[in-house]
Amino acid sequence: MSAVWQASRAAVKRRRVQTIVIGLVVLCSTMTTVLALAVLTAASSPFDAAFARQRGAHVVATFDAAKTSEAQLTQTVQRPGVQAAAGPFGQAVIEIPQPWLWMAAGPLQVVGRADPAGPVDRVDLLAGRWATAPGEIVVNSPVGGASSRLLGSKLDVPGGPPLTVVGFATSMSKSAGAWVSPEQMTALHPTSFQMLYRFASAATSGQLQSELEAATAGQPADSLTHAQTYLSLKQAFSASADSYLPFMTMFGVLGVLVSVLIVGNVVSGAVVSGYRHIGVLKALGFTPNQVVAVYLGMISVPAVVGSVVGTLAGAVLEQPILKAAFAGVETGTATIGTTPWVAVACLLAMPTIVAIAALIPALRAHRLSAAEAISAGSAPKAGRGLLAQRKLGGTRLPRSVSLGLGQSFARPARAMLTMSAVILGVATVTLTTGLASTMVAAGNAGQHSGITQVLVEADGKTSGQSAAQLSDSQIEARLRALPGADRVTARAFTKVLLAGSTDTVFLNLYRGEPPAAAEQIVHGRWPSGPGEVAAGPGFLAQHGLAVGDRTVVYLSGKQLSVTVVGEEMLGNNQAMEADWATAAELVPDASAVEYAVQLAPHADGQAYVKGVEGVDPGLHSSLRIQSQNTASTVVISFSAVFTVLLAIVSALGVFNSVLLSTRERRRQLGMLKSIGMTPRQVVVMTVTSVAGLGLVGGLIGIPIGMVGHRLLVDHAGVLAFPESMKDVWHAPQLAALLLSGIVIAVLGALIPARSAARLTIATVLHSE
């Protein structure tokens, strides 16, 4: 065994507690980093990842079976630009006569496919098996929505044989409501064919359009009846996920940053505290390079163990955490996860970071002579620090307190190490709690506790049922007249073309009392007159608009100049909001498709819903459950996880620093005890030595966290927070945050302090 390895082993054995602390810090930091990178990779493109796993269709095209044939459609597969294609599959629309499974009565689009696999749109089976024989059906289901106990359910198709559910499946391409075998499809008399395409150029809607035109160039005119692009699905996905992906990305970056800094702090502290030992090794004849090797060897043991265990723990926690984080995102059965490189990168990077952190102070020791190294840190240099300590000794503070406070001044480098750990911890806690407060406020905006809302649908499209018979104004009047109704907002919508854009956007038109969205206007006001619109930050950013700007919308040959008068907090990226007065200019015959009814406090929601049924059988109402939105839940959950993890890492940093300090002051502590310092005074002195740093660290960390919070909420992109939601800092909260710095420091110091209080005086005093 080489002398270097032997000395390294001896150093590890002699510094068991410190080795464990370094190992724990590396473990927690690695775990945080694994989770952070997992979030970063998953958050970067969750839709793309899930879509790619299913080889989703860039375009789901529907062709009229009366105008084209299977043979003609098969030729499209060979057309230029077509990377892969599946189909043609027979497609029919069947009627669900009455509510079935979780679906309302109405039409159901069914596609005939022999199997769920294929070059495009690899449908994931969630339960049961694929339909292979006549009389069998596989139903499209949201993940988590299907249950095996529903297998075997029967669907009586008017004019056809009953279909038995043999499986539940999901498609990222949303290619069908249900699937049957090709034989069964023939029996259902398909009226159209479905083709699923993946194109070489599919980045924009323009590319998709031209690729589709090229692919279907030889087809009879008007045979293509509908084309659904993946971009519209992605847009719908983004609307829910984009609101919190920036926050999760931030948590990832923060986690990596803090972990690396704390590891550097702890490891370099360990090496600096070992200067005396380094001097002794040099005196024994170790060469400078051997000394550096001894220290790198000593640090590498906990670094490697911590990295491996941390990576494993992170990998175990990764899936449930990502599952929770992406709970609101529809991804089919595709797992939102990370690539193996995350684990590999952490396994390689963490020990490397530790080695670099150890190498910098070790190289300094490399340059020191043996005598210099032995004396380094053994006696403080006279200066302002000692003067401060002397002044403290003259104050009215209890001596154990003034001695503790003075330690920071006597050893400023050690104090800076401790304080930097506290600053990082407090900044993290400040940032994450601020974000949580902002998100809670955002989640609660427009929600009124104790108030029930009923959504009444009039056009039957969503529920798939028949439309209402009464006129728009009659419906509104009847809904207002029903017992319990307090506020009624009618909504119609139309698609318009925005000046300078090739894509159409939705224009929502509101009548009656302003909708809940009116309470979430961040800048400006809710539209109240003709030609006034409001939109969310995503929409405004996409179209280069801001509050006060004017633009033109086009519809059926008409055009209208509109002014952006308000910006919503969150808002649909594809829609603008306007008052009904705008409808008169563009769509005079607009008719509301839905009515949001806010009931009076304590009104009976169920009774109101029942009452709506009596107004018109074509009206379909549902009670709105007011719950915290997904973005709030996810951000708050992540805040909690990362706050706890990073606070632990910070406290461990403090623990390590105090432990080193206590070791160095063993003789001093022994002497103080010999002249009558009680164990309690020892604890008070040791804890005070870091509590002061905790206080200062808090004072520095809080503004850093506040600035970070401000930068983040100001640049969230798809969310625009009003000032009231950004201004989450109040005196009690700031006091609590300041306290968090002291708590982190005190928690980290408590164990070494108690151990110092139990120090056996006789042993430390009689040895030099």
Binding site: A382, R667, M677, L765, E768
Partner: protein, 219 residues
């Protein structure tokens, strides 16, 4: 008293009585248990069996805090390597012992200055230990030990780290203190220190008192 550390016996039936005003020197070869005896008397360690009574107080009856408070009031200690706090100047090192009892900084410093003056190092009151000679450091350490007017002053090789001239000065100091009524218990290898400063000599061997004799004061 008996004291065992694992299989090794540091004290093996040591019995000793020191009267107020005595100056007792304990001598013996290394490892004979004399420093362990001093630790027991100071309440820095506890015997495996037997009792230690100082100033009428059975130390075995006190918990750690009680022992600390007892040391604070009744025991003063000086060590071979001084054990001064490097971060504090001489004056504050001395004042510290009183400040721990709750004495105000002003009062403690006043008394500390008096002691430093009596011990001849008042002019070095603002110096940090690193700037003091060995003899000066030991005088500061003695001042600190006397700060709370202890009933018993314990000295563990007080001249062991000093040159002969400084050692002589410290010896003179101890003699003066004893003549003023201070009870002393000195552990040393140095026969010169023992014979000059003590009126009783206890020779220790194998963890017990081997021989005891009365000495004539030389001062």
């Amino acid at each position: 008293m008996h004291k065992e550390y694992g299989d090794s016996k540091a004290l093996d039936g040591a019995s000793l009585e020191i009267r107020a005003g005595d100056a007792v020197a304990v001598m013996g070869p290394s490892g004979c248990g004399k420093s362990t005896l001093l630790n027991m008397v100071a309440g820095l360690d506890r015997p495996t069996s037997g009792t230690v009574e100082v100033n009428g107080q059975d130390l075995g009856q006190l918990n750690e805090t009680g022992l600390a408070l007892f040391r604070r009031k009744h025991i003063g200690m000086i060590f071979q390597f001084f054990n001064l706090i490097d971060d504090l100047p001489a004056l504050d090192n001395v004042a510290l012992a009183a400040q721990l009892t709750g004495t105000s900084a002003r009062q403690a410093r006043r008394r500390a200055l008096e002691l430093l003056d009596e011990l001849g190092v008042a002019d070095r009151k603002d110096n940090y230990p690193a700037a003091l000679s060995g003899g000066q450091r030991q005088r500061v350490a003695v001042a600190r030990a006397l700060m709370n007017r202890p009933a018993l002053l314990l000295a563990d090789e007080p001249t062991g780290a000093l040159d002969s001239r400084s050692g002589e000065q410290v010896m003179d100091l101890l003699i003066d203190l004893n003549q003023m009524g201070q009870t002393l218990l000195i552990v040393t290898h140095d026969p010169n220190l023992a014979t000059r400063c003590a009126n009783r000599l206890i020779e220790f061997a194998d963890g017990k008192v081997a021989r005891e004799s009365t000495l004539e004061a030389t001062a």
